[in-house]
């Protein structure tokens, strides 16, 4: 069992849902990334998605684009992102880290080399936005060989056949993109999302996280009522962007802790759902 799987097992036993915050590595400065990661854990993060900056983030909205640009302006490379994970691991051996980014920096390093280095640094999963399952088969195999979970996206427009195709490759969790558009778009439609999740769980047997458009504790609570994990990204990046660097950790901690409380209140009330087949 991978670390990510064991997190979901534990949460399920507790009747709770996973909170997965996202930040971009190196934003606003590489020196703040490790403190921010620890702050996220203190605020109640179960898993953290760490964005790898890329010059052409085609699937991201303006907020995460700007985070990527700030990190690139500081010269942050994939190699440095791995070093940041390694420093985080000095004080935290528990909280899974999922790298989220685009194919080119990984292919530039070499997929095998990357998988080995990511495993050694303490990474637990990898989500490559522009590897849909048909282009990600070899990649998923290599990740599995290095005990890394390949995380795939599914969308409201994904057919049943594609859901099964993703289920055959994915482990850890599946990231369900809750709406049409890019990251940081308008609020999501909880009822529409709720209608799709049982189908995805049934076809894949993997926990389902929902992201895109989750901006506050109330929405996070609603999503926690139907999904196995809640992903929050752009809203956190906005908090970092609007804070003085030395205030960012405290601001992010307060925001994420508020979302955590909202989620836990909701799942206590509902008693949770199950992802296991």
């Amino acid at each position: 069992m991978t670390t990510i799987q064991s997190v979901f097992e534990r949460l399920q036993a507790q009747g709770r849902k996973a909170l997965i915050p996202f930040i971009t590595a190196g934003d606003p400065d590489p020196a703040w990334t490790v403190p921010l990661l620890h702050a996220l854990v203190r605020a109640g993060a179960d898993i953290i998605e760490l964005g790898v900056p890329f010059s052409d983030p085609m699937a991201d909205g303006p907020t995460i684009q700007r985070a990527s640009e700030r990190a690139l302006a500081k010269g942050v490379s994939l190699r440095q992102v791995l070093e940041l994970v390694e420093s985080f691991r000095a004080d935290d051996q528990q909280t899974p880290i999922v790298l989220m980014g685009y194919a080119n920096p990984i292919e530039s390093m070499g997929v095998e080399v990357f998988a080995g280095a990511a495993c050694a640094a303490g990474v637990n999963g990898v989500l490559v936005v522009d590897y849909p399952p048909e282009e990600g088969i070899d990649f998923a195999r290599i990740l599995h060989r290095h005990a890394l979970d390949p995380i795939f996206l599914l969308a409201p427009t994904s057919s049943d056949a594609r859901i099964s195709q993703v289920g055959a490759l994915a482990s850890g969790y599946i990231y369900y993109v809750s709406l049409k558009g890019v990251t940081g778009s308008a609020a999501l439609d909880v009822a529409a999302v709720a209608a799709r999740i049982p189908e995805i769980r049934a076809r894949t047997g993997v926990p389902v996280g929902v992201g895109f458009g989750i901006r506050d504790a109330a929405t996070a609570a609603a999503v926690a009522g139907i999904a196995d994990a809640v992903v929050v990204g752009s809203r956190i990046i906005e908090e970092i962007e609007q804070s003085a660097p030395d205030q960012a950790c405290a601001k992010v901690l307060a925001l994420v802790a508020d979302i955590r409380r909202g989620m836990d209140a909701a799942t206590n009330a509902s008693g949770g759902t199950t992802w296991a087949r």
Binding site: A59, S108, P132, A155, G181
Partner: protein, 399 residues
């Protein structure tokens, strides 16, 4: 290469091409793939496309023997495929007609496009006006500043031009932004990509629509010369005019295919846009191809005097033609392209686009090394009216 039938069903040209996009775009690309396949089989669609090319674009474009220029170079005979004579002044319109007809067939009332220099934006705005569609063109704010006349042309044609402020604020960022629009508005919007790049089926579809250039050339060369040329030469940015003229020639033995990239201020200076000459394979804009990138896999900014060649990637079929050896790729500097521009103006009374001037410049290098009976066919992909300011600037002239 007689049995050339790429791409495969999933859009691969050998290791290149493919569908490297987020899951959110997959359904839209599948829908497009099916609609395009059905349209290709529909005689009515094909007939309407051909009719529009004839009566609206003005096809076939002539093949012209540049006698004085050939004589001055003292070697091979140079023929020009006159895509500059098309409506809107370049080859771009061929593809825009095809995709707009497809958009109409798919009942998408809104079209979007990316543009660098503005040529593809103008061609898209033109067909949107022609077919009564809403049109939004994404353009880097840096390019908007440099190409004010084309921005105005698009607005005259009824398009909304949206400035893109992210990244390097140029063509690649405009493409990112158009993709973001498409993923958000996919139910009523058709994305008209301007070159043979992007996720499958775009590289194949744009090539097919542009291949009218090569199909006409094969007929016209036979009529005028009784044979096919020894080499076909075309400039390559994304590579749509080159794919258009190369594709029908791939199975024709004895015809060299030569793509000319922008060497800018020289390959060694790093100020260029020559992805096939100086790049390495990677993934950008939905496909795997040769890219200009740094050691960490970040896409680098490019330079060329011609905005239409100023792109850090290249169509995946060119990547395959390079690796397979069927086509050769060379590069021409800003200065060499400018020289060819002036030569064609003075010797033939034709003002070529700076993009096309790269292909012309390579012909000036090659022709003198060949015998007088040999034949070069150069794709004159566009006219140079849009480049007046750039060329005048180079000569220290202000209007």
């Amino acid at each position: 290469m007689n049995d050339y039938d790429l791409p495969d069903a999933r859009g691969h040209f050998g290791p290149y091409g493919g569908v490297f996009v987020a899951e959110t775009l997959i359904a839209a690309l599948d829908e497009l793939k099916e609609a395009y396949a059905a349209a290709q089989r529909d005689p009515q669609f094909v007939a309407e496309f051909n009719d529009e090319l004839k009566h609206y674009v003005g096809r076939p474009s002539p093949v012209y023997h540049a006698r004085r220029w050939s004589e001055a170079l003292g070697g091979a005979q140079i023929y020009l495929k006159r895509e500059d004579l098309n409506h809107t002044g370049a080859h771009k319109i061929n593809n825009c007609i095809g995709q707009a007809l497809l958009a109409r067939r798919m009942q998408k009332p809104r079209v979007i496009a990316e543009t660098g220099a503005g040529q593809h934006g103008v061609a898209t705005a033109t067909v949107a006006a022609r077919y009564g569609m809403e049109c939004v063109v994404y353009m880097g704010s840096e390019d908007i500043r440099r190409q004010a006349a084309n921005v105005y042309r698009m607005k005259l044609l009824g398009a909304v031009v949206v400035p893109v402020e992210s990244g390097s604020r140029t063509l690649k960022d405009a493409l990112n932004e158009a993709m973001r629009d498409w993923v958000t508005n996919v139910s009523d919007t058709f994305y008209i990509i301007g070159t043979v790049a992007g996720p499958h089926p775009y590289p194949m579809m744009v090539r097919d629509f542009q291949s009218i250039i090569g199909r006409e050339s094969i007929v016209q060369m036979q009529e005028q010369c009784g044979r096919q040329p020894d080499a076909v030469i075309a400039c390559v940015g994304g590579g749509s005019n080159a794919m258009g003229i190369f594709y029908p020639y791939i199975p024709v033995a004895g015809v060299r295919l030569i793509g000319v990239e922008a060497a800018g201020e020289g390959i060694a200076t790093g100020q260029h846009a020559a992805s096939l000459t100086a790049g390495r394979p990677g993934v950008l804009h939905g496909n795997r191809t040769y890219l200009l990138q740094d050691e960490n896999g970040q896409i680098t900014e490019t330079h060329s005097i011609s905005a239409g060649l100023d792109y850090p990637g290249v169509g995946p079929e060119h990547a395959w033609l390079k690796d397979s050896g069927r086509a050769e790729y060379v590069s021409i500097s800003d200065a060499e392209a400018l020289q060819a521009f002036h030569d064609l103006c003075r010797l033939e009374g034709i003002i070529p686009a700076l993009e096309s001037s790269h292909a012309l410049a390579y012909a000036t290098r090659l022709a003198p090394t060949l015998a007088k009976e040999q034949i070069l066919l150069v794709n004159l992909s566009g006219r140079g009216d849009k480049d007046m300011h750039t060329v005048a600037d180079q000569s220290g002239i202000t209007f």
